[in-house]
């Protein structure tokens, strides 16, 4: 047997694990990784609908009323058919107005009235505390069952020991999972994931229990139903207490309850992160409900068949496996049941605590000054409210828990939610719905609920005289609580449902008709009702006179937000509000901008404190003075007066012209910006200036900071700009210290996909940490720089307001900037290339002059010497040997000159067209040996020792002269630049012949390796070595003409290796395509 303390310890560990999951999920979400933002997490979080009533209570209900329990699930399933219309509308309103709870929606719709919000909050507290107590009662009872007690005897006494630790656990988990921090958007991804996990656990638990009872204790569904039929356990399909009207009324109330229960509103509306998730939930959630109720009837009938009393049917789900000594299964079922209660308690308490703090405490702070400090401690106030709610629910459970069954408490709470239906749903679709109507509807519904559901319970408890139920108050039988106006044929539940709906609906309609809203309020309500219509522009960028100083308004806004958040957060939010109206702190605000700023401040504050308190707070702040309000009215009036048309046409035209003007203004601004871009980029062809210009053009027009990263320069280079020069310096220092920069994933993706990549993140997330610290951002867009079919690099724009990326205009402008920047970068690169070419040409002319002059000088001297001898008639007297020596020298110089001219001619011919090849069958090894033999004396003069490894039989079809030229050029290069040991090898590898020449010279730097194969380019200085710089260029052209390749492997200080690979047979199509080739020659 397990003791109660062990069960509590296990439960504490389980709850602790859930808290850790919630914390982990929220951390991941803050880093930009979406864990909760998917359709299935959203759907599974809706499983909060399946409370202990579903998990345990259904079986108890089915034991006495057969299939009646299905009504509670039929309602939401039928409602799912309309989710796309109703639930999506609620979600859209929540997103637009940052609604935080059901009561917040109510007050938003009805004049942002604090009275409506207070009334709704109080009504919900009265109705839902019993519902929370029901969950606590079940948890206590199941703990006692698992601890080996008989709940029917041990309960309620065991609650004295088990209750307090459970209550403490619930308070802590509510705070950690639901209200750990005050958020600008009241979404809780951690809580969604926890609810989803609990949803899975409770489904698995109940399915396992059902399968165990149906197939373990009996022989399947047929066996259970057959035996139950024979035993007469369920007279009819609805038992002794069920009726069709009960099913239908429960379907109706569960249909409305699904939308109106605060915890369901929280998960289905407030926690929705994407409207598209509703489409998945439409079918997935009803499937979940079907699965969780599949075994309800077999378990109920199975328990009764096994002789368990019907009065303990509420615990059959756990007591049957436990009684059959299936301990592992019992633990699973218990944890599933605990999840169904715990999840509901956490969400319900969290929403109620939010309502209490926003709609009761905050209005109280405005009424009583000493409480004003509470605004700064809103979070603590919520924690206290949550603790109070759970403790009150526990006290309720202690007082009344033993008198009522689960289902009774559940139905009473559920039915009460109907009073909200006319005000909420009517308000979503009826323009005429008014605040007075909603208040009267709520009051009438609440009074009818109390009279038809609570009074009978008090009578049964003996607190009120019984004759009230049988004869009615003062003997008026028409006012009997369970047979109002003679409807005695209805069961108590459908009776209450009928009268609550009728009374609240009639009061709502008549109240709205008799006390309509003012025209201005109707227009505001219309904007809420038409929320699914295409969005109208918030305000036009029409030129208007300056009305108020933005700095002064900002100070007021900061003062307002400081009352609820810290000073730095208040400043940040105030700046964000100003940015939304596109104004800087030093600007002047136009009337329309000021009006929009006021609305923005109110909406932003509403996300944390609710619409009613936000409205009241903004009114107290006096953000817009009376004079300014008049100026705003005049601005609107001028627009209205200019258009003498009917109101509907007027609205249409205003929308049209505002949109048109906004588009024109944006387009003009964009064109001006792009013209500036072109002008600035055309101003210079220097790469450094161009790079700096690009990043500074983007800031601050398009982004807070910009990073340009170029690949196609000699080495990757980057430029960075920020609106604040000190931040820019810090960021550049951070980037420089982290060089070579490992490209962020977005940069690589943008270059691969050749499309812009947008990324949202509030953490460095792959960027150097110093960059993020110096220039914080919440997202960035990376654009590839494309020119001539090549990706030259990327331009990344960093923004602190990531929503700007969603504006397609800004994105298009960013793309255009990237396109123009790419052209500018390409132009700068081409210009640099042209400059290099001119420099190479000038150097070549100098060298060519020098090279040609070198043999000319001795030639001239020799000729002058002969001329002098001839003039002095001494030529005949010159010894014959001496004359021959002079002539030999002359011939040598002429040959050298002719060689230089031939080399130049050959290079220029090769440049103009491919070299002509006279192909013949030849042995490459023999050719190489010949060349080496011819250069033996030069090798010796240069101080080179040559070792050769020449394979025999490397035969192929090549041009003998050109092949010799290749070997000669490479060999003379080695002699010239790397005197010392030279290794030559010739080998064949399949169809490839490979010539390798390796030296032990100084090697060639990486930057020069590609360049030296270009004409007139050399790694060494012209002054140190002679030659035109054409040798390697010719080698590459000849190798290419043969369909081969030449490669260089070199490490500075370790020598160089040139590898020439030639195909042994020139491919036919290549030789055919080459007009100069002579096949077969």
């Amino acid at each position: 047997m397990t003791s109660a303390s062990v069960v509590i310890a296990v439960v504490s560990a389980y709850v602790g694990l859930l808290c850790l999951v919630a914390i982990w999920v929220e951390r991941q979400e803050r880093r930009g990784r979406r864990v909760a933002g998917n359709a299935f997490a959203y759907t599974l979080s809706m499983a909060a609908y399946a409370t202990t009533w579903t998990y345990y209570g259904n079986v108890g209900f089915a034991a006495s009323t057969g299939f009646s329990f299905l009504g509670v699930y039929l309602g939401p399933t039928l409602l799912a058919l309309f989710w796309w219309q109703v639930l999506r509308k609620m979600v859209r309103i929540k997103n637009t107005h940052r609604v935080t709870s059901l009561v917040d929606l109510l007050s938003l719709r009805y004049r942002r009235s604090q009275s409506v919000a207070m009334l709704g909050t109080v009504a919900l507290l009265l109705v839902l505390i019993p519902y929370i107590s029901m969950q606590l009662k079940t948890m206590i009872a199941t703990v006692s069952l698992l601890a080996g007690y008989d709940p029917s005897r041990a309960y309620p006494a065991i609650g004295r020991d088990v209750g307090p630790p459970l209550v403490l656990l619930m308070i802590l988990s509510t705070i950690v999972i639901g209200i750990r921090r005050l958020k600008p958007t009241e979404r809780h991804p951690g809580m969604v994931v926890v609810l989803a996990a609990e949803g899975v656990l409770k489904l698995v638990g109940i399915l396992a229990a059902g399968a165990f009872v149906t197939y373990g204790l009996f022989r399947g569904f047929g066996d259970v139903f057959h035996r139950a039929g024979r035993a007469g356990l369920l007279p009819g399909l609805l038992g002794r207490d069920g009726s069709l009207t009960t099913i239908l009324s429960m379907a109706a109330e569960s249909m409305l309850g699904f939308l109106l229960l605060p915890h369901m509103f929280q998960v289905a509306v407030v926690e929705n992160s994407d409207e598209r998730h509703i489409r998945t939930a439409m079918w997935a959630f009803p499937s979940y409900m079907l699965a969780i109720t599949l075994f309800v009837l077999p378990i109920a009938l199975g328990g009764l068949l096994l002789g368990y009393p019907a009065s303990s049917a509420d615990s059959f789900v756990l007591s049957l496996p436990y009684g059959a000594r299936a301990r592992g299964l019992s633990w699973l079922v218990f944890l599933g049941g605990f999840s169904s209660g715990g999840g509901m308690v956490v969400v319900e308490t969290m929403t109620l605590a939010t309502m209490v703090s926003n709609h009761l405490l905050l209005p109280a702070t405005a009424l009583w000054r000493p409480l004003a400090r509470l605004r700064r401690h809103l979070l603590v106030a919520r924690w206290c409210a949550a603790a109070t709610i759970i403790i009150t629910a526990f006290a309720y459970e202690r007082a009344f828990g033993s008198q009522y069954r689960l289902v009774s408490i559940g139905i009473v709470s559920y039915t009460a939610m109907l009073m909200f239906a006319p005000a909420i749903l009517g308000g979503l679709y009826w323009r005429g719905a008014s605040t007075a109507g909603s208040v009267t509807g709520l009051c009438a519904g609440f009074a009818t609920w109390a009279y038809t559901m609570i009074v009978p319970e008090f009578i049964r408890a003996g607190w009120l005289p019984r004759r009230l139920l049988t004869d009615g108050p003062a003997g008026l039988s028409a006012l009997r609580p369970e047979a109002l106006f003679g409807l005695s044929w209805l069961h108590p539940i459908p009776h209450a449902v009928f009268w609550i709906l009728v009374s609240s609906l009639l009061a709502f309609v008549f109240g709205s008709l008799l006390f309509p809203e003012a025209t201005e309020e109707v227009a505001r309500a219309e904007r809420i009702i038409q929320v699914l219509e295409p969005q109208r522009p918030r305000h036009a960028q029409v030129p208007q006179r300056a009305l108020a100083e933005a700095a002064e308004k900002r100070a007021r806004v900061v003062r307002l937000f400081s009352q609820y958040f810290g000073e730095p957060a208040a400043e940040r939010i105030a700046d964000s509000c100003l940015a939304k109206v596109r104004a800087g702190a030093s600007d002047w605000l136009s009337p329309l901008q000021l009006a929009t700023l006021e609305a923005e401040v109110e909406t932003t504050l509403a996300a944390s404190v609710g619409a009613a308190e936000a409205h009241a707070a903004v009114q107290r702040l006096v953000l817009v003075t009376a004079t300014e309000a008049r100026a705003i009215s005049s601005a609107y009036a001028r627009i209205l007066a200019a258009l003498k048309v009917p109101p509907t046409e007027l609205r249409r035209r205003i929308d049209y012209y505002r949109e048109r003007e906004r588009l024109l203004a944006r387009e003009a601004a964009a064109q001006r910006f792009l013209a500036g871009v072109s002008g600035r980029l055309a101003g210079s062809l220097d790469m450094e200036t161009t790079g700096r210009a690009i990043v500074h053009l983007a800031v601050p027009r398009l982004a807070d900071s910009a990073l340009l990263w170029l690949l196609h320069t000699e080495a990757p280079r980057l430029w960075f700009a920020h609106a604040d020069s000190s931040r820019e310096r810090s960021a550049i220092a951070a980037l420089t210290s982290s060089l070579p920069l490992v490209p962020h994933a977005c940069l690589s993706r943008a270059m691969e996909s050749r499309r812009p990549v947008i990324h949202s993140s509030e953490a460095p997330d792959g960027w150097p940490a110093g960059l993020f610290e110096a220039a914080p951002f919440s997202g960035h867009a990376t654009f590839p720089l494309l020119a001539g079919g090549q990706v030259l690099g990327t331009l990344t724009l960093f923004l602190s307001d990531r929503s700007r990326f969603r504006v397609s205009d800004d994105l298009a402008l960013g793309e255009e900037l990237a396109y123009r920047s790419a052209l500018a970068v390409e132009n700068a690169a081409l210009f640099r290339k042209a400059e290099n070419a001119v420099r190479a040409r000038d150097e070549f002319l100098a060298v060519a002059s020098h090279e040609l002059k070198t043999p000319l000088t001795p030639l001239q001297l020799n000729l002058q010497s002969l001329q002098r001898l001839a003039a002095g008639r001494r030529l005949s007297k010159l010894p014959e040997e001496q004359l021959e020596e002079i002539l030999r020298r002359i011939v040598r110089q002429v040959r050298r000159l002719a060689g230089l001219v031939d080399e130049l001619l050959d290079a220029s011919l090769i440049t103009v067209r491919r070299p002509r090849l006279n192909l013949e069958s030849m042995d490459l090894g023999a050719t190489v040996r010949d060349v080496i033999d011819r250069h033996q004396s030069e090798l010796a003069q240069a101080g080179c020792t040559l070792s050769a490894a020449i394979a025999t039989g490397v035969v192929g079809r090549w041009d003998r002269f050109r092949t010799e030229q290749v070997v000669t050029n490479l060999l003379t290069n080695a002699m010239k630049y790397a005197p010392g040991p030279i290794e030559v090898s010739v080998a064949a590898e399949g169809e490839i012949a490979r010539l390798t020449i390796r030296d032990r010279g100084p090697g060639i730097a990486d930057a020069d390796q590609r360049r030296i194969f270009l004409p007139f380019e050399r790694a060494a200085s012209y002054l140190r070595t002679s030659g035109f710089g054409l040798g390697l260029y010719v080698v590459r052209q000849i190798a290419d003409a043969h369909g081969g390749d030449v490669r260089l492997q070199s490490v500075p200080g370790q020598g160089s290796t040139f590898i020439v690979e030639l195909p042994r047979n020139l491919p036919a199509e290549r030789s055919a395509a080459r007009p100069g080739a002579c096949p077969g020659s």
Partner: protein
Amino acid sequence: VELSSAKRGRGRVLGNPVFAAALALLTAMLFCWPFVRMPPLSLGHAYLHLFGSWAMLILALWRIARQLGRLPRADRRPR
């Protein structure tokens, strides 16, 4: 062309709230039928009928949800 326009027509029907209302009414009637029928169905048959109807409604919901994802934006607006 005829086939694609027929498909489009079917898509609009599935996304129409009036169709959803009619389907809700039909399902409610299907659910009520075992409780008003004489003689009453056996437990097993009633169980099969009720959960079978429920499963069929879920199938219809799946088709509607899929269709809503395909409809052009204008057709997804409530009427």
